[in-house]
Amino acid sequence: MSNITVNSLVKKFGAVTAVDGISFSVEPGEVFGFLGPNGAGKSTTISILCTLLGPTSGDASVGGFDCVRDADAVRRSIGIIFQDPTLDNGLTAYENLLFHAYLYGMDRAKAKKRIEDALELVGLSARKNELVRKFSGGMKRRLEIARGILNYPRVLFMDEPTIGLDPQTRNMIWEFIRELKKNTGITVFMTTHYLEEAEFCDRIAIIDLGKIIASGTPSELKAGLNGDTLNLSAMDPKGLDAEIRGKFGMDPKITDGGITLTVKQGDEILPALIKGLSTKITSVSMTRPTLNDVFLSLTGKNIREENGDPYGPMRSYARKNHGGH
């Protein structure tokens, strides 16, 4: 049975259709990613799944419980890391976690043990009695992650978990998610507009303007494109072109000082090509398609060019994160 099931889900805010009839399911133990530009409807979908918003139509269930009719059961089985910060800056790290533990009905002993473990896991044990106000953005994010897993959720929602963080912290968080998945079999639903991040997911759905426009494993999606690009330089580009056409029946393009070719499974073709050619080749390179290429081919635009300011959300995160409380 699927851990998350969504059927023809629609959410309208007045005239704006934020989520426009999406359907998907996430299997237990999967890391499922929502990839899409700003305003695509990612956070709105998460809000519906975690029972903060009611859908306009369609249905959604998490852990076998309906998100509207059985909201309380859904709430008990999930953990969430929201896109925008939701810590109390006026409390210490420990107090923030204790608050959470009690909201989820843990007793003092159990709460204490889990909090110590969670703080250890995100490397904040030494700072547990400091006010969150004094934490850096990355420390706050790690604390939110610790809080999200405190109740041992079956499904963990993470809305842009690594936005605004430096590469080390991002890697740390990814390492952490992998460990968590390996050790607990938790199901993870995450959103991102970092393409590199989407590659870590077992399966992704690409969402734009409230609609899912493609889904599958990252390699399946990329395989749907024409393939890898091979660049071969040679002293005699024309000769190379002719030889490739003759021997391999391919259709290269002549470029400045070489040829370029688009093929599926470039990694297998490239060695065969080099072995079979007699024209002298001076250098080779291969580029694999990225998820941005997938997005580009589906929508005709780059995922990051949205609003002309790819760092907008990052700035807004940093701003909110450093505000007082």
Binding site: C50, T51, L52, D72, R75, R76, I78, I80, F82, D84, P85, T86, L87, D88, N89, G90, L91, E95, L98, F99, H100, Y102, L103, Y104, G105, R147, K320, G323, H325
Partner: protein, 260 residues
Amino acid sequence: MANLAHETKAIYVISYRELRKFIRERSRILGTMARPILWLFVVGGGMSRLVRPVGGVNYIQFIFPGMIGMTILFASIFSAISIVWDREFGFLKEILVAPISRLSVVVGKAMAGTSISMLQVLILLIFVPVLGIRINVPQFLLLFLSSGMLAFSLTCFGILVASRMSSYEGFNIIMNFLVMPMFFLSGAMYPVKLMPPVLRDMAYANPLTYGVDGLKNILLAGASGTTMGPEYPAITDFIVVAGFLVVTAVLANLSFRRAA
């Protein structure tokens, strides 16, 4: 409500959080305590020289119940407004997504406002002997109970207002057009029966008037029947405050549920 123990724990931790933060912020305690103490001694002390004692009660003693009322009013409303802060800083989501009922959230917030108010009332009560007011233990308990009822109802009233505010910008409007008029038209500074008719009618419609009068019934019992004394029988005060409490508690819950 699936599990009473769980909901109780949630109510406890929601109020604990506010109290913890209140006690941590020394400047906030000083700020909120400075107001009634300043009024008491600067306004009360000054006016005592102009206004003759009536029925054995001087002006500074006369406004003492009003100062308790003011402390409760400000502390309760301010505490309830924290809901708006919580929404603005995202923390409200952490609460709303937890497996607890909306009722527990409101009760937790109401308990928080009540406790913070009562803490300040206790500090103010240090001045009872200083001002030469005599009360016995049962009167003290009664005073505590009346203050608690008033604090709880005013916090619920604050939650009702806060759940309808979408941003913190409305705060000044609430302060100037709701809280200050409620204070001035409550008989805290001036006997209601001596007010000009229009203001007097407004004071009659103000629940805080009855809260303050209830306190006067305990603290200024000796001056009953004079201008400085309580204006209504204690039972009237009790019934009005209790009614206000029930109405605000119900409305706060309905309003918060709808807004959340």
